[in-house]
């Protein structure tokens, strides 16, 4: 056991006891039939998005969306080491802060970010005009500060990465946005839930993650998990498409505000 001890990190106490709550404060067990409270089934949670917060990066963005907080920085286009490529390459790396999820993540031994990075690269690549950047690489780093489900991280990650790439002034086809829809089995009928929370997604029959470019009406990636009928799948995708338009508004607005803060266009002068 002594070999596994990492001297660079502050060790946790050997014994710990979970806090005891009053029964009244306990949240209801997340079951498959919980009714959504506080918002409608087709209502997404508000998004906070801001660009240009990381000064040393060529472009950056920060998003808070539901239970997810991500900081994204973009470096490039910058020269790439040989072998030379006629098109630009997109390097995307997702990293979780140790405190980003519950239970805490073991540093370095975490394998989840690798698959998330691959999925995110797949959704993001069609939005960038990579043919304009021969022999160059565009490096995108996403640091997840808070997370609930991997699907929500992907959805928010796609939106914030688009914002950061646009902030870096890199040529794109359109802004990419992510949206999530889940199909929940209620006692009597099935319900399509937009932007599901952790409990809702856990008890869902299936879920769809949609990457899209709402400005062009194009879809970059669909990820469907679970078992869903064809008609329901179509309904879920349509819900996700209409939700992505709202996300696009927030995204475009934050870019315009970011530009105006630098004294360009609109109200300035």
């Amino acid at each position: 056991m002594a070999t596994a001890f990492d001297r660079r990190r502050i060790p946790a106490p050997e014994v710990s006891i979970p806090p005891i709550y009053d029964d009244a404060e306990l949240e209801p067990e997340a079951g498959p039939s919980t009714k959504r409270v506080g918002r409608a089934n087709d209502e997404a949670r508000p998004i906070f998005l801001k660009t240009g917060l990381i000064s040393q990066a060529n472009g950056s963005g920060y998003i808070e969306s539901g239970g997810v907080k991500i900081a994204c920085s973009v470096y490039g286009p910058r020269p790439k080491a040989p072998p030379y490529t006629p098109q630009g390459t997109l390097n995307l790396e997702v990293k979780f802060a140790p405190f980003a999820s519950d239970p805490r993540r073991a540093p370095l031994r975490d394998t989840e970010p690798i698959s998330l990075s691959q999925l995110l690269t797949q959704s993001l690549t069609p939005t960038i005009q990579l043919h304009l950047f021969p022999k160059s690489s565009i490096d995108v780093y996403l640091l997840v500060l808070e997370s609930d489900t991997p699907t929500n991280v992907l959805s928010a990650g796609l939106t914030v990465a688009s914002a950061a790439i646009a902030d870096a002034g890199i040529a794109m086809y359109a802004l990419g946005t992510g949206s999530v829809v889940a199909l929940a089995q209620s006692t009597d009928k099935q319900e399509v839930l937009l932007d599901p929370e952790q409990g809702e997604e856990g008890g869902a029959e299936g879920k769809v993650l949609l990457g899209s470019m709402p400005a062009l009406g194009k879809i970059t990636n669909i990820l469907l998990e679970g078992s869903v009928g064809v008609e329901q799948a179509v309904e879920m995708i349509e819900k996700a498409v209409s939700a992505s338009r709202d996300t696009h508004t927030v995204l475009a607005q934050s870019l315009i505000e970011g530009a105006q803060e630098r004294g360009i266009g609109g109200e300035a002068e």
Partner: protein
Amino acid sequence: MFTIKNIPPSSTQSFSDDIPSTHRRRPAELEAMDLDEDEFGAGPSRRNIVTPGEMITSSKEYMRGHGTYVEETNVISSVTGTIERVNKLISVKPVRSKYVPEVGDLVIGRIVEVGPQRWRVDANGRQDAVLMLSSVNLPGGVQRRKIESDALKMREFLAEGNLLVAEVQAFFGDGAMSLHTRSLKYGKLRNGQLLTVPPQLIRRLKSHFHHIPPPCGPTGVDVILGLNGYVWVSNGTSQEKREGGEGFDSEGVYSDKNDDIPPEGRQAISTVSNLIRLLAVQGIPLTDTLIEESFNWLNQNQLPPGPLTQPDKERMLAEVVGIEVSA
């Protein structure tokens, strides 16, 4: 005079019917520009910002410029920025991006690698710039073919980490720039300090070498505004040296040694650097007159040396530039 037709919704555009009004005002915006064409570009307040993927206008009536692409029959923006139009050419100028070089631009760069017959230079572009051994002036001043012994001595002239000022000579096939220093104005930099500002803030000027005369330090301060956003602030030199005339020390061109700079000279360099940083943070385009005026303002107000206090910064910006800034 031409008018803009309403484009019938194509298969892709029908999707974006629900896109909020902020994303669909482009044709009307352009029409407004047409009405007073003579005043186009007179003030930035009239311009509008577009985001990537936003339709600007029809490609049947306009040509696409930088920052746009054509999809079906629409000109679509590919960056976040302001719409610019020259007659029928529509382009979008990005709010912030890497330096986009043009032949003849004056740039400041840093050597990153010494290679065969060439140096690789970081000039804030998409690709590292290249400075060929054949496009530099060697000590001695005589124009001659470079021979093998020159190639072996390349690191003595310019080593990794050295800064230089050069001009963009040409482009390679992949868009990387080729530099030259074939003028006595160009070459290795010393006796000063490098600043990095967004390249959009440097305008193309008649001359990018400026001299702020004393009382700004005992010998004045030289400022070189590189179009790639690198700014060199250094101890002032004499008139002849600046213009590379008589008495020009051709042997000292590749010297690594800084001259002795008195404390007042160092103070002046950092004062000018601070002013440039302050203007750059506010997104104000840098010109020689602006830098000199802001220094004169400091001088008239008899402010103590050292960084400006917040109220002084705001006063300076209000009185010299004429913008209101609140913390």
